[in-house]
Amino acid sequence: MLILKEWRLWLSLFLIFFCFYFIKPNFNDDSSTSKINFGLDIQGGYSYLLELNKDEYLDNLLIKTSQAFENDFKINSIIDQGSLFIPSNQNLEKINNILLSNMGLEIQDQSSEGTNYIISKRNFNQSLSDMTLNAVEIVRSRVDFLGNKELSIQKVGLNKILLEIPGNLDNNVKEVISKTAKLTFHLEKRSLVNSKVFKNDDTGEEIRVQEIPNLTGDYIQDASLQYNQNEPVVAFSFNKEGSNLFAQMTSENVGTRFAIVLDGALITAPVIREAITGGSGQISGGFSNESANNLAIILKSGSLPTEITIIQEKQIGPTLGKEGVKKGIYASIIALIAITLFMIIYYKISGLFTVITILSCLGLLFALMSLLNTTLTLPGVIGIVLTIGMCVDANVLIFERIRENFKMQSDNPKSDGFNAAYVTILDSNLTTLFAAVFLFAFGFGPIRGFSISLIIGIISSLIVTYIILRLFLNTTSEKYLGLNK
């Protein structure tokens, strides 16, 4: 048997095995990671794109740097519009290039009065990106505590977080993710120097307190919803360090009022009746069950480094997703049948080979998508349609070239035709492939979805035409191909 000597036969069989092996997990219910995920536009759900405040983060970073100068080198500095000004009358001996680069600073301008430093762009971006990664974990833990199992959360760009949750809308999610949750404790202060007034808008309660907090929520270890005389309250406990600080603060100030402030708004301002040494406390203040639970979750997860803005939100009803997909798949199948019927009518046996090539191209495409755990979105489906188009085009190019060779009575029409056409196919497909790679690297959302399926599709198409289509052409006698007239 000549066909058994054809290496393409064995490779084809391997490809078929490969496809089945990697597509199979999609039909099992187990939690295999090699599966095609469906985008929200296909399965329904909701998503938020969150942006962390860059400017606020820059300010925080400058404050930190300024404090470091003061604590480590006794240098006073002034923060002014995104830069740090160090007057020339300070002790500048310790400032050198190595120190500056360690602190990520570079000189913006210099005058006889002093030097303006800014945080170098590279350093700032790196630091911003790390901060966002940290924020991703905080947001994840907040949404996790609400009991959402299948959420997908990822960092996008430098300071954005994309949160996608399949299923029905849960309004609590929006509430817990959009709060910064900076919890601070301030002791009352009557003097106007370095003090600040916080107000509770609901109750009208007001208190003047020391501006710099005595204690922050960063030390909170656990928080939960509890009931005090049937009213929901948030109970919290500090970690060891926080417990000590809290004990010290309360024991030194018995009889004084202090403010509990969340994100700049006063929650309550109780009087310290006795030293609290147990390291735990309660916040009450007109909570509902839900809002107390949400606050507990937020406190438990920690505060976000900066304020967060929801810059995009999307909610796709499951009916639209399902109906859209059903109709989309239906339409694609009809389109596929139309193409294959046309190819069979036009090219007869060769047309049948095209059908098999397209099907194996789709098989390989889905296998690779499962293997890479890709998310399939509607623009992705469009990319697949283009892939099929390119696969058909490759077939047509090859058949026409072979037909041409038959006409010119060349010695080896099948193989020469295939090779000549394959160069063209490579050129045109690689151009598209490179363009798609760049689109994937720079694009966002739908553009990425489109380009990833196009990239995988082109690779699949190139492989199956070279192996499976060629196998059929090689092993079929010229008179059956129907290309010799």
Binding site: Q312, I316, E400, T424, T431, F442, G443, F444
Partner: protein, 290 residues
């Protein structure tokens, strides 16, 4: 046999006309920018109410935001687009409540985009498009000659630009998904053009070939004509199936793409090789022969 090369001046005029026409249309009609590029709110609702009744419902909200209500053809789905303005978060809550409380309306999809983010999306899309154009030009330049790179990129931009004009003329919404459609047209266009480039290179590299440049161009097109027509035909056949059967919010895309396939076929048959000729590729060939 049609002498394709002799049509090149006529097709320059036709293309010039199309480009000017597109500029005029975009200038006077503008692009129907979706919320992806303008920011704002977008709803798709399923309802038996008519346009007037829906706008009545939205009149309750006191706001000077522009509200656009459009019925999707052949369905009971309406698209409602609302401009963004001040204090968006509370506005979204209000609108959501109004629609949810109305028993006659069912939300299929709701979407909000902050205007600052949409301007970032525009920038991002332009980056993505520009970088992939650059990569295409670079690859074609490496594999062929600079004349081909210039001509291929020109044909590509020509096709995409006129397709944008088509969208403006028929008031088709311009959003991120439509960017994907334009990319599809770009991919199709460059594919089609490169197949012809490849053939021309193949023919002219034959040392025994003493034919004139015009004849070589015509031969390249003639030998590929059947393939070009077959591919365009099968693509359009598939697209017509999509137009007829696809879900309502996806019908506009294949329509734009059908137009793109037609314009792409035109540009590769009548424009691309003409430009290569006018960039004096002949001289390159002569230099190589001698």
């Amino acid at each position: 046999m049609i002498n394709f090369y002799s049509f090149k001046n006529k097709s320059y005029i036709l293309s010039l006309f199309l480009i000017v026409f597109t500029i005029i249309v975009i200038f006077f009609k503008g692009l129907n920018l979706g919320i992806d590029f303008k920011g704002g709110l977008n709803f798709e609702v399923q309802t038996q109410l008519n346009n007037k009744e829906i706008s009545q419902i939205f009149k309750i909200i006191e706001s000077d935001r522009e509200i656009l209500i459009k019925k999707e053809i052949g369905s009971d789905v309406y698209t409602i687009r609302i401009e963004s303005g001040e204090n968006n978060p509370s506005f979204i809550e209000e609108i959501n409540k109004i629609i949810n409380d109305n028993p006659d309306m069912k939300i299929l999809l709701s979407e909000y985009i902050e205007p600052t983010f949409s301007s970032e999306l525009i920038k991002n899309s332009i980056y993505a498009l520009a970088s992939s154009l650059f990569v295409i030009a670079f690859y074609v330049w490496i594999r062929f000659d600079w004349q081909f790179a210039v001509s291929g990129i020109f044909a590509l931009i020509h096709d995409v630009f006129i397709a944008i004009g088509f969208m403006s003329l028929f008031n088709i919404e311009f959003n991120l998904t439509m960017i994907a459609a334009l990319l599809l047209i770009a991919g199709y266009s460059i594919n089609d053009t490169i197949v012809l480039f490849d053939r021309l290179r193949n023919i002219t590299s034959d040392e025994n070939n003493k034919d004139s440049f015009d004849l070589n161009v015509n031969n390249s097109i003639r030998l590929n004509l059947r393939r070009t027509i077959l591919t365009s035909f099968t693509t359009i056949l598939a697209l017509i199936c999509l137009v007829v059967l696809a879900p309502v919010n996806l019908t506009e895309m294949p329509i734009v793409f059908i137009f793109g396939v037609l314009i792409g076929t035109y540009s590769s048959l009548f424009l691309a090789l003409g430009i290569v000729g006018d960039l004096n590729y002949e001289a390159v060939l002569k230099a190589r022969d001698s």
